[in-house]
């Protein structure tokens, strides 16, 4: 059984259908990718799974349990964590405090492990930004801020990690490090679902890929299957963007 599963998710904003009967299943220990042209509804889908967006129809399950009606913070307490496409760090706080907030909160529902300060430091080290712990987070370049967001989610000890364009703003070396880190995390049993535009990153990292186009999930499979799927090619090549990036 999939760890995180969504079925028949439909979201309408007035007359606009952002998601139409879309579904996905995310397995523990795997990196699942979600790709699609701009405006396909990827971020809306993330918002549905984390509870930031109400659905017109559809269900979300975690571990087979229906969490569709749970509020954002309750889902987080059950192990769903995410990062944001446009970075949402706590600008008044230092890098360490950003992670500390999460580590302290997590002890509410899970008191195991080291004290929050140590845990926060460990998370910073894990994503490789321990040396900027005392900097004000508002002033960081995008790449570092993304890593802060990632470290912050790790401090909640998630079971599912939803990453919205984790490699954007990162340079080549950092992207590679990010891929290595995500592989590490899945080996620990974490489920990762990511939205990404960097195709080589997605194809090289993901076990399975789902393709979203105009709110519909048009394909799902291994990277090789998806790459050769004609509907995927038309979704990308049919648009004005030209080729797969």
């Amino acid at each position: 059984m999939a760890l995180l599963e969504a079925t028949g998710v439909t979201v309408r904003f007035g007359g606009l259908t952002a998601l139409d009967d879309a579904g996905i299943s995310v397995e523990a220990g795997q990196v699942t990718g979600m790709i699609g042209p701009n405006g396909a509804g990827k971020t809306t889908f993330f918002n549905v799974m984390t509870g930031l967006q109400d659905t017109t129809a559809g269900r979300v399950f975690l571990d087979g349990r229906d969490i569709t009606r749970l509020s954002v913070h309750r889902r987080a307490r059950r192990g769903i964590a995410r990062t944001f496409q446009r970075i949402e760090v706590f600008g008044q706080l230092s890098v360490l405090d950003n992670v500390l907030v999460a580590a302290e909160m997590r002890r509410r529902w899970d008191r195991s492990g080291p004290p929050p300060h140590e845990e926060a430091r460990a998370c910073l080290e894990r994503v490789g930004i321990a040396e900027i712990a005392d900097l004000s987070v508002a002033a960081l370049p995008t790449g570092s801020a993304r890593l802060v967001e990632l470290a912050r989610t790790l401090a909640t000890r998630p079971r599912v990690l939803l990453l919205d364009e984790p490699s954007s703003g990162l340079n080549g070396r950092e992207t590679q490090a990010m891929a290595d880190l995500l592989r590490d995390l899945t080996e620990d049993g974490l489920a990762v679902l990511l939205v990404e535009h960097d195709m080589s990153f997605v194809m090289g990292l993901c076990h399975r890929i789902n393709v979203l186009s105009f709110g519909e999930m048009i394909a799902s499979g291994t990277p090789t299957e998806v790459r050769s799927d004609p509907s995927v090619q038309s979704a990308y090549l049919g648009s004005d963007h030209g080729a797969v990036q």
């Binding site: 509870g51 954002v72 446009r86 949402e88 500390l100 005392d134 508002a138 960081l140 570092s144 801020a145």
Partner: protein, 720 residues
């Protein structure tokens, strides 16, 4: 418009509440065509005035995105100008009206737009709120200075008090007839302007996207100027129409704005037709209450409180704000984030205590002539500062706007009176704080659903509701009974509410409060508050419950304010409802924000300024300073458009490098100098060699200094 189940529930509840209220307070006056008719005439007239005022709010808000808290004050000011021309200088009415409504008010609006409002674009909402509230106080102060309250003024209705025509046996005066006609005419004109004319469409477009609108050839600058001109004119029309009905009183006319808020909130600050509907419901509802209902003593203000109640209900019935995912703006340069250590706070507190002890003891030479009243001033200053402290965690850290600190303070004072008023026992202070906390938590309930502007409006309604319906109850404050609050009994001392001992006690309390708040800021609670301030969405996805977090911070804030209120009660010895009004609370909020709302030190700055204005006014005695205590805070708040950081930030930046242990401040100062050399970098390497030092400077400037290992040359440079 589609209504949600919550909307229907709110409407049903409101209607049910109205029926129950009417049944309970029915006066038994006869219901006939004549009485209902005259109620409708007056009600529709009132509604028309609210509608005109509210439509000015809506036009400015939809066009510029700025919600003008000063709308009522502007109307009040133009009404006074009209009175001056028409009745004091006896100009003919058409000329006076034409000059005020068509020339002076629009010009004033354009000037405001150019000098103030334009600079508000893209600034944080808190700043926008404070600046327009500051403007409101500014206009009030200006009017109170120009037209002193020492003589009665009367604005005659148009076409005299008598006269008019009969309609179904009801006399409609020409003034009321004119008012209704003006409102209808303006409604039609505004509708045509905004939906049929090119400029109107551009006005509505500009708020959605300035840059896109300018691409179509429209000039957003001209459009926002036009909107302010129009808004100011509409305010003037409303002011001139209502002055004969309500009297030329600064506060009264200014508070028409709360009525307008309620009407505009019905239209969700956007829809003019719904705004007009809201205004009519309000006007007729108020007049219905005056005509057919009688309220017992403490509720005699119920008719005036109706807009407040409506505002509160409407704001609560609005659809729940979605958690915004907005992205974090990045700052200019990287810096080490320094959280004030407790030792610094304690040191500052000790310094303050030393200063106050020596000052109040007459040790500082040039101020000893103030002792006596001077000490009482000091007491007022410290109490104000303590009440201001309540907003530091709430508004400064958690980002929750609250215009009702004085309502909480008043509640605390009442609680102290009830619990320990006779004995003056110090534990009563703690009880007052504890009992006020749940009231704060109550205020947090709207805060859970509302953000930003709507929360500000809700808190204003809350403060006004307390003023009109709670403090007026004889079971709460019995002004007639002469209940006195005893002087404070603390650890064997008896501290008179105006004496030096009390002042020193307050100073110690304030210093302890600052240290306690800094400790809170450094705790997980403080971090959580700042987290929900910066991104509610991200905070929630980390498992933070917004409800719980907001309830806690509102509760703590209310407790501090309640504590301060109890201290105020001891100073005053007797309480009366006029001590805790909405308007008196506004300077407290403004001065704190001027100081820098995120810093406890700003509370001291605010407290000092509060009494400074009074002292300046009294010592100089110049007549144009006669309203300085409202004009001053108002103008200071408006001036924040130029310096948004808050005064204590600048003071801190200037003085902290002088402290021997603040190496980091000196480093920051040096970095600041480095980044001010930005221009020079442009041609570096072309006309001069590009050295390792330049690389280091650049790195520092770009904020990657801590990401790279320090080079030997950077280390060898050392400190300054």
């Amino acid at each position: 418009m589609k209504l949600s189940p919550a909307n229907y529930a709110a409407i049903a509840l409101t209607v049910a509440g109205a029926i129950v209220m009417s049944a309970l307070n029915w006066s038994g006056r006869p219901v006939s065509v004549a009485t209902v008719g005259s109620m409708l005439v007056v009600g529709v007239t009132l509604g028309s005035i609210y509608a005109v005022s509210a439509s000015g709010l809506v036009v400015v808000y939809t066009t510029t995105g700025v919600f003008n808290f000063a709308q009522g004050a502007m109307g009040m000011y133009w009404a006074f100008v009209y009175w001056e021309l028409r009745f004091n200088r006896n100009w003919p009415a058409p000329i006076a009206i034409g000059l005020v409504v068509l020339v002076m008010a629009p010009l004033g609006g354009v000037v405001l737009d150019r000098l103030v409002m334009r600079r508000l674009r893209g600034t944080p909402l808190v700043l926008q709120l404070m600046v327009t509230v500051g403007l409101m106080l500014g206009f009030m102060g200006l009017a109170a200075t120009q037209w002193k309250g020492d003589r009665g003024r009367n604005a005659q209705p148009f076409f005299g008090r008598s006269g008019g025509f009969e309609l179904l046996g009801v006399n409609v005066t020409w003034h009321r007839f004119t008012t209704i006609c003006v409102a209808v005419l303006l409604a039609v004109l505004l509708r045509l302007l905004l939906h049929r004319s090119r400029i109107g469409v551009a006005m509505r477009a500009v708020v959605d996207s300035r840059s896109l609108t300018s691409l179509t050839g429209a000039n957003p600058e001209i459009i926002s100027g036009l909107a302010w001109a129009l808004g100011s004119s509409l305010a003037a029309v409303a002011g001139i129409l209502i002055a004969p009905e309500s009297g030329l009183v600064v506060e009264l006319l200014t508070l028409v704005v709360v009525d307008a808020f309620a009407a505009a909130a019905v239209g969700r600050l956007q829809s003019l037709p719904l705004t007009f509907l809201g205004a009519m419901v309000l006007g007729i509802g108020q007049q219905f209450m005056r005509s057919f209902l009688d309220f017992p003593g403490g509720f005699s203000n119920a008719d005036r409180a109706l807009p407040t109640i409506l505002l509160f209900v409407v704001v609560l019935a609005l659809p729940q704000a979605k958690l915004h995912v907005r992205g974090t703006a990045s700052a200019a340069s990287a810096r080490i984030r320094r959280v004030t250590p407790l030792s610094d706070a304690a040191l500052g507190g000790l310094a303050l205590i030393v200063v106050v002890v020596s000052w109040s003891g007459g040790l500082v030479p040039f101020v000893d002539e103030w002792t006596g009243t001077g000490v009482n001033r000091g007491v007022t200053m410290m109490i104000t500062a303590i009440i201001m402290l309540s907003l530091v965690p709430l508004t400064g850290w958690a980002g929750q706007v609250n215009f009702a600190p004085l309502a909480f303070a008043g509640f605390g004072a009442v609680m102290f009176l009830k619990v320990a008023g006779d004995s003056g026992q110090a534990w009563g202070l703690l009880m007052a704080a504890l009992l006020t906390a749940p009231v704060g938590a109550l205020m947090a309930l709207p805060a859970v659903r509302l953000q930003g502007l709507y929360l500000a409006l809700a808190s204003m309604a809350f403060a006004r509701g307390f003023e009109l319906l709670f403090f007026t109850q004889s079971s709460v404050i019995d002004s007639g009974a002469g209940e006195r609050i005893a002087s404070l009994h603390f650890a064997g001392w008896q501290l008179d509410g105006r004496g030096r001992g009390y002042l020193i006690f307050l100073t110690v309390v304030f210093a302890a409060g600052v240290v306690g708040l800094i400790a809170l800021k450094r705790s997980r609670y403080g971090r959580r508050w700042m987290a929900i301030h910066d991104s509610e969405a991200a905070a929630a996805t980390l498992g933070i419950s917004l409800v719980e977090t907001k309830v806690i911070v509102f509760g703590i804030s209310a407790a501090i304010a309640g504590f301060g209120g109890a201290l105020f009660g001891i100073q005053q010895a007797t309480l009366n409802p006029s001590q805790f009004t909405l308007l008196l609370g506004l300077p407290i909020v403004l001065l704190l924000v001027v100081g820098g709302v995120a810093y406890p030190a700003a509370a001291l700055f605010g407290g000092v300024n509060t009494i400074l204005f009074i002292v300046i006014k009294e010592r100089l005695g110049w007549s144009w300073l006669s309203a300085l205590e409202i004009l001053g805070p108002g103008l200071m708040a408006v001036a924040m458009v130029v310096n948004t950081r808050g005064a204590v930030t600048d003071m801190g930046r200037a003085f902290s490098p002088l402290l021997p242990w603040r190496q980091d401040a000196r480093e920051q100062l040096r970095l600041g100098h480095a980044s001010s050399r930005e221009d020079e970098i442009g041609e570096l390497g072309l006309d001069r060699p590009f050295t390792r030092d330049h690389v280091n400077d650049l790195d520092k400037h770009l904020g990657i200094v801590d990401l790279i290992p320090a080079t030997p040359s950077a280390e060898s440079r050392g400190g300054l």
